[in-house]
């Protein structure tokens, strides 16, 4: 990627992509790390990318998922060794209000899709292509997420109902 394009991206899209990834993973600092790592790698990559915003967001989400899995493995290793469990996702509290609570109540996939759709304004087709899932899955997940967020927003402030959802993650 040419440096000029990187500069344009940082000026125009960076903050929105960081916010989207941050909402998806619940930690803005982790999101910023992931996005910057992707940009650093992209500088040495000659391939052409049409939709840089979507590409960076998707690549950053992949990195975040990898990070979470590594943390999970580390926690399990600590458990096996009887050591103190490291804190879970430190710094995860920097986004605070009912929106965070509502977002956190969504399964991981719904969080990602919601953030990509509403923050990056990606279409159903683009999200499906980025996450390699079907259009129908995107629509279903968005529909569910919207329903859950609608319910959360209708709660009086500070009384957000957070529903525990099994998102299948380990």
């Amino acid at each position: 990627m040419e440096r000029e394009r990187l500069v344009r991206f940082v000026q125009q899209d960076y903050s929105r992509v960081v916010a989207a990834v941050g909402f998806a993973c619940g930690d803005r600092s982790v999101a910023e790390d992931a996005v910057q790592d992707v940009l650093a790698a992209a500088l040495d990559d000659d391939r052409s990318v049409d939709n840089l915003r979507a590409w960076v967001a998707t690549a950053a989400l992949n990195r975040v998922r990898s990070r979470h899995r590594r943390l999970g493995a580390e926690r399990r290793a600590h458990d096996r060794l009887g050591a103190l469990r490291p804190p879970a996702n430190p710094g995860e509290t920097d986004i605070s209000d009912e929106l965070l609570a509502a977002i956190r109540s969504l399964p991981a996939r719904q969080r990602e899709i919601t953030a990509l759709h509403y923050l990056l304004d990606m279409s159903v087709a683009d999200i499906a292509a980025s996450l390699r899932i079907s259009d129908g899955t995107v629509k279903t997940q968005l529909h569910r997420a919207r329903g859950a967020l609608r319910a959360a927003f209708s709660q009086p402030s500070g009384e957000v109902e957070v529903v525990e959802v099994d998102d299948g993650s380990r």
């Binding site: 990187l6 500069v7 940082v10 000026q11 960076y14 903050s15 929105r16 960081v18 916010a19 941050g22 909402f23 910057q36 790592d37 992707v38 940009l39 650093a40 790698a41 500088l43 391939r47 990318v49 590409w55 998707t58 690549a59 992949n62 990195r63 998922r65 990898s66 899995r69 590594r70 999970g72 493995a73 399990r76 290793a77 096996r80 986004i95 929106l99 399964p107 996939r109 919601t114 953030a115 509403y118 923050l119 304004d121 279409s123 159903v124 087709a125 390699r132 899932i133 899955t137 279903t140 968005l142 529909h143 919207r146 967020l149 609608r150 927003f153 998102d167 299948g168 993650s169 380990r170």
Partner: protein, 326 residues
Amino acid sequence: MAPDERLPADDEVDEAIRRRFDSFVEPTDTSRVLAEVDARRASVTEVGRSRRRLGVTIGLAAAALVAVVVAAVAFQGTSDRRLATIDGPPTTAAACADPWWYLYVLPGDFLTRVVEHPMSALGQFSLETAEPPLTPEQFSARFGDDDGYTDHVPAGDAPWTYRAVPGSPVDDGVLDEIRGLEGVLAFDLGGCDGASQSSPPTTTPTEWPGVGVSDQIEQRVGEVPETLPIPEEHAVPVADESGVRVGFADRRDLFPEDRVDAVRGCLEPALVVDDEDRVVGFMFRDYGFVSREAALTGDFSIRDLRVERYGNDLPVTCVQLPGNGP
């Protein structure tokens, strides 16, 4: 964006969600971000150099180890070598001197996830994600033979691949990681005898399958039951919404007894099973996924190719996918 690409509008909720989201988009300090990106890039470059240096060292050590193992296998003879081929529960890999394992990825996740266990001596396990998905050429360039590992990308545009991973032993922690990966289609151990992965191969050319294996697949696949419960410890969930999971059972019993040696390390079909234990297809190492229906009707094409990694230009048969994964 075309309106029909969007969900049916729910303006009130959509507006509320967008407003909340937008309030969290912070102004960007461009110079700070650019400086941090440059710093990361410099750091990554240096790490790469260090890894290459370390890779050379490990490669030399690995070559020496392989030489010892091959010599030992040759000394022990055929029967012992067969014992060393492990396709069963991964814990038995601890008994194997030179285990390899394979990670198959879903067609939709073509080359997006690569699991490595290159530093087993240090007890490290790393997960590397390639973004964006790599083409077979890019994959070869990145993970090609120059790193000393055996990687193989099926010829053509088969929409999946695997990473051959050297290392030992595969423990529960590694398995936990694999089970947690989205898009992982199958996991398979094997290759301890060096016959299928190491070069030079320890089997003779006549033992390798040539034209005709496909006939066996078509003939024998009909004997697979429509449903087959997979033990939970062998089931790998695949993609969070699909409900598909995989049991990687040793199905060499599907093939004639006298061809077991021939198919060893080449086919070993894993059964792809959905959440109701229905067999939806088969994953063949080196070859690809074939749906049960396609296998029964012969609706997949066969073509020959030469797999360079076997080191002697042996012709093998490739099941070219019809293009529809599970």
